[in-house]
Amino acid sequence: MSKKLLKWNEDRTLFPEKNSEGKIDVDYDSHKFMKIWHGPQHPGITGNMSLELTLLGDEVMDCETHVGYLHRGFEKLMERRKYIQCFPIVCRVAVPEPDFNEYCFASAMEELAGIEVPEAAEWLRTLVLEMSRLQSFLAWIGGQAGSLGQGIIGQWTIYLRDLILDRFEELTGGRIYHMYMLPGGVRGLLPDGFRERMTQNLDDIDKFMKDVKKVMFDNYVFKKRTVGMGVIDPAWINPFGITGPNARAAGVAKDVRKDNPYLKYPELDFEPVVGKDSDIYTRADVRRRDLLMTVDLIRQIMAKIPDKGDIRAKTPNVLHWKVPAGETYSRAECTRGEYGYYMVSDGTEYPRRINVRGPSYTHAVALLEKMIVNANIADVAGLMVSLHTYPPEIER
């Protein structure tokens, strides 16, 4: 592999010496350093976040993640809403995958309230979560390719994602924010003809993904810029709280769907997708294969999902539903890793405290800040996107 594209300049004599903490003392007066803001308005940044980078030449010396551009204080807002009134807002915590919020919120509440969700609703929830993963992966692939200059991939995958959004629209009544899994169940059975249209869409996705593989993954340039780059050491997995594809690409088969199975996953046939090399390329490839697995899972779900049946359990009147005092944590595997809701009830009609655990919380701050040091400025966007982070779930 050509040395020129390696992530840092091999000739370290050009750089100041590291101090006892292993860092370089940044001295702006020396005029060697430069500070730039990568984001919040930067096409290479996913969402409303910015990286404050200190550069020496092309190389990043120091990085600080800044969030807060989309802080809406959801956790606090929920404290003065009745449980049912939290339902329309939880999805807004994370745009790319709103359904995980709906699911984790509903299931935490159902656990505390001792509600059992009907069979059909469990299947529909499983379906929606996998559809959500599918469209999120599709959007991400476009982002990853785009961050390295491959605009065409995004054009294809955003089209594919739109097909899934069409299915979301007819199943849930919404394209982006679905507001479909409410405490106790879901809001509708499969519409007529849904299966056929979905099957067609999945076939299209399979077909396009073959081209994506050829154009993006079997691509000299892409490989040059990603293989061996941005390696996550498997030893970091626990100290940094790394989950999802970021962990699986390092060979750690963490997948909530297998580890702590929920909904109908025990009835589905799948193995967590893992990789070995833990670099940007491997992470991308793990996600690509995970995406194909999701396509397969949706096919399995479509074969098993009932067409009839109750969609919502009998619950107390939602207008004054008092959830028994207690606390719990409910989690699910989203495309970025472990998504979870920690819910505390004090026995009233209002939640006492809800804390959202978005996987990006660890990936985009502690981990990114560590990995980015010594990266070439040109690789920052690619590296960041390869962690698949999403700021709103950090600041909520």
Partner: protein, 175 residues
Amino acid sequence: MQTIIENLQKHFQVVSYHQQRENLGFLIASKEVAVGLITHLRDYEGFAHLVLLTAVDWIEDEHFQLTYLLHHPEKKVDLGVRVMISRENAEMYSIHHLWEQARTYQRELREMFGINFPGSPDVDKPFILEGWEEIPPYRRDFDTKEYSEKTYFPRPGRETHDPAEYMKKKLYPNE
């Protein structure tokens, strides 16, 4: 899960253990032993993954609850360590040396709840908020409604009626 707790009881005083479900339990530890207990859970029991660290404001009881949720990657079980600390001069020992992301959590708790973690890197740096002058906003006594009413303008022209009151006015005003 039960054996883990029994093990733990040999070394620490574990209070009010509560099994929430098969693979999730909560226990209360005192402020003084908590970090030791958590270190033990991480290093000897295998709870290697810090799922989250957050706080609950029990303002009526004048304390904050800190919840350290730990996950055991092999046994696939979770244990929540609940620590009650006084609301006044709220302070807790830092665990940034145990998990890299803990500093982020502690920084957020400092900002949102006003809980200090002396020694935690950058703990005083604003995390999400910028130029915040009110009391830490996630405290129960911070009133979001009042804040928004004084900060933003309501759109004029809104007016509503309570059905029962309105019917009284219309149908039996003098009773």
